[in-house]
């Protein structure tokens, strides 16, 4: 791990309240460029809430969520941007975005964070290929002259569409769904739907990919394939991944950095090996107080 310059996403003092319920309290962590950061914790710990705050689906009650594009020097603008009241600063060297100020679709469109959902959200009545083209909506919309040129049949749009199909095809090859391209997405088996959702998110050309329990419901072989896919994405596309996961084989094997939440509060933050042996984390997962961990472990034979 290197210095603070590598930070891609910085979450500071994030608090999210729903009425009287505090779902996430004073959470700070950061995700680094080119790393896989895992967010883990028992059910109801507030992991998905954090995701929804980062991707703009919830407006955080308090806190600052900043994302950088380009050179790491852009972090110097953070205070200036915060006090200016603007959503972002874009200059030649790069850009800095304050995600809590952006609506959900702009988080994907401008800040280029893509996400998947815990319960798969494909467009079931559209074909696999169409799903991937919808993900490229914004560049295609521009190419179609906001529909005007497209309606008149300008060749520039046809060219852009061919390029979009080519890109979709590349991703279909990567997730092994090329032969099913013309089938309805709802017809795919569960594991394939999970992979398609990741491919669809990747078609938006993100810098940060947020995956909400990508291994849920997958068998061990599919989990292993998923690990490979995520590692390939990181290597080949220089994309950072933020991941919520319960499947520890996935978390421990591929993540570079793990953040543990319990009852909306961060209880640990570090490398996977350190997290595995952290008594606080074990206590949270077993649902007992810290002092009793050794006793309970002895009882259950760990």
């Amino acid at each position: 791990m290197t210095g603070a310059g590598d930070i891609l996403l910085q979450v500071e003092r994030l608090t999210m309240r729903f009425g009287g319920l505090v779902a996430v309290e004073d959470l700070s962590f950061s995700a680094r460029q080119g790393e896989i950061t895992a967010l883990i914790g028992p059910n109801g710990a507030g992991k998905t809430t954090v995701f929804n705050c980062i991707t703009g689906f919830y407006k955080p009650s308090e806190g600052r969520l900043a994302l950088r594009h380009g050179d790491s020097a852009v972090w110097d603008w953070l205070e200036q941007l915060t006090s200016s009241g603007e959503r972002s600063i874009k200059r030649a060297a790069g850009a800095l975005y304050l995600l809590e100020r952006m609506p959900d679709y702009l988080v994907t469109h401008q800040a280029r964070i893509a996400r998947t959902f815990q319960n798969i959200r494909l467009f079931p009545g559209m074909t696999v290929l169409e799903n991937l083209l919808v993900a490229q909506h914004n560049p295609l919309m521009l190419a179609s002259g906001y529909t005007l040129l497209g309606i008149l049949g300008f060749p520039s749009f046809a060219k852009a569409e061919r390029a979009a199909i080519e890109k979709a095809r590349e991703w279909l090859d990567k997730v092994g769904l090329t032969t099913r391209a013309d089938d309805a997405a709802g017809d795919l088996p569960y594991g394939a739907q999970r992979r398609l959702e990741i491919a669809r998110a990747m078609c938006t050309e993100p810098v940060l990919l947020c995956l909400d329990e990508p291994a849920a419901g997958l068998n061990p072989r599919e989990s292993a394939e998923l690990n490979n896919l995520l590692l390939t994405i990181r290597e080949q596309h220089d994309i950072s991944i933020l991941l919520i996961e319960h499947d520890m084989s996935v978390v421990m094997e591929i993540s570079d950095h793990v953040v543990v939440l319990d009852y909306g509060v961060k209880i640990a933050d570090g490398a996977p090996a350190a997290i595995r042996d952290n008594p606080k984390v074990i206590a949270a997962y077993l649902g007992v107080a810290d002092q009793e961990v050794a006793k309970v472990e002895a009882e259950v034979g760990l």
Partner: protein, 455 residues
């Protein structure tokens, strides 16, 4: 097979029992409705008379009908569902391929065919009441299809935009004397402006709530038209609306009229034929634009919105703009149709824009199959053409007496048709979805996967 025979015998017994139960139910239902009748006699006293023969005739009819259904249609139906489906039959593919060119050819030559078979005198009625009337609703159905079928936004006030188009044309043409060809696009623009205006407040609403607000919007427009007497002349409506001209040449018996200019004998049929081709062109434009839009990113975004709005937002699609464009597009075509309607009738009043119209257009879309162009056209022909056909069924008067008016039973028959369609084809006549883009092989998508949209 040996097992067939006992199965059949059991079926007959069950069919008889079912028929008995149905007849009993019919008896209970029709006894107060048909069996008894109250009339006032000469002394103005109410007396009760019974109509046993009629009652038993109806009950017997229901019972026999049910028996016939259980013995013939039901086994056939079961047999069909049990058989494994092997994809669409080859003849179906052929039909699907040729139906569009055939239909377009038919509607283009329809006036000529009518004139050839019915002669000039009767042809006006057939072209006007059937051709033009049906085409207006085909166009409205296709326009609403964008909002309801593609974007999945349930709109119960669609007739409001039709009214905006009609009144825009009527008022601007009468006040400023603009020609039809200038006002046609203008009416479309004004209607789509109102579409956006409606769109804004309802953006956050879904499903039933959206439907209620659009219904209210439709009523608001109608009530404003009724009460703003200075502008719209209230219930009395607007008369003497200028008729469209043949690119500047009016359809009248004058020296500079259409017939004189082209050296023909004057006849009202030229105007009718012109109007027919005008609405045909407008309807085909609607269809062409819709088909094009479906293959553009905006069309795919509409369908994606119908499938899953949250997923759309996670992919960077501005759902606000997407919904507004759907409302605006749908409203624009209603505006075109409205201005055509005003120009064709020469008279409009708020009576033409009641909720019943919205309901008719929506039922055309639902019966046809949401999102399907051909299905909507077939449903419009069946519903609107069907009504007109009923006016022609004079022979029924011989059967039921001279006071019998078949059109009075229109709504009853529509209700029945709706129930039957919803039983056999719950997602409309043509419910499968054609993909908008293909990598290798075109496959239609089954009904069960395509979402209806929750607004």
């Amino acid at each position: 097979m040996a097992s067939d025979a006992p199965a059949k015998r059991v079926d007959t017994a069950r069919a008889l029992r079912d028929a008995g139960v149905t007849a009993l139910l019919a008896f209970g239902l029709f006894l107060p409705l048909v069996g008894f009748q109250t009339v006032t006699d000469v002394r103005n006293d109410l007396i009760l008379i019974t109509r046993w023969p009629l009652l038993f005739a109806i009950v017997a009819l229901v019972g026999v009908g049910r028996l016939a259904y259980s013995l013939t249609i039901e086994p056939w139906f079961k047999d069909r569902t049990l058989r494994p489906s092997s994809g669409p039959a080859p003849w179906r593919k052929q039909v699907a391929r040729w139906i569009v060119p055939f239909a377009v050819g038919f509607v283009i030559f329809y006036p000529a065919m009518v004139v050839a078979t019915a002669g000039y005198g009767r042809a006006v009625k057939w072209i006007d009441n059937f051709g033009i009337q049906v085409l207006i609703y085909v166009m409205l159905g296709w326009g609403l299809n964008i909002v309801v079928g593609l974007a999945g936004l349930l709109d119960l006030g669609y007739v409001a935009f039709y009214a905006v188009g009609a009144y825009s044309y009527a008022l601007l043409a009468k006040t400023f004397g603009f020609s039809f060809w200038i006002l046609l696009p203008l009416a479309g623009i004004l209607a789509s402006f109102w579409g956006i205006l409606l769109g804004f407040p309802v953006l956050r609403l879904r499903g039933d709530y959206l439907a209620i607000v659009t219904l209210a919007f439709g009523e608001i427009i109608r009530i404003v038209l009724i009460n703003w007497v200075d502008l719209t002349n209230g219930y009395a409506g607007i008369t003497g609306i200028p008729r469209p001209t043949f690119f500047g040449i009016p359809f009248n018996a004058e020296e500079d009229g259409f017939a004189a200019v082209f050296g023909l004998e004057f006849s009202p049929i030229y105007r009718t034929i012109f109007l027919y081709y005008l609405i045909l062109a407008l309807a085909l434009l609607t269809s062409f634009v819709t088909v094009r839009l479906r293959r553009l990113p905006v069309g795919r975004a509409w369908e994606a919105l119908r499938e899953d709005e949250i997923a759309c937002r996670s992919l960077g699609i501005n759902t606000t703009n997407t919904k507004l464009t759907a409302f605006a597009m749908g409203a624009m075509f209603a505006g075109f149709a409205g201005s055509f309607f005003a120009a064709r009738q020469g008279f409009i009043s708020p009576d033409s824009f009641t909720f019943l119209e919205s309901a008719t257009i929506l039922s055309i879309v639902v019966l046809g199959g949401m999102g399907s162009q051909i299905g909507v056209a077939i449903a419009a022909i069946a519903m609107i053409g069907g009504t007109e056909i009923m006016r022609e069924l004079d022979f029924l008067k011989v059967l039921f007496g001279s006071t019998f008016d078949p059109t009075q039973y229109r709504m009853l028959l529509f209700g029945l048709a709706m129930v039957l369609i919803m039983i056999w084809r719950p997602r409309g006549l043509i419910a499968t979805r054609e993909p908008s883009v293909v990598l290798k092989e075109r496959k239609t998508i089954g009904t069960d996967l395509v979402k209806e949209g929750r607004g």
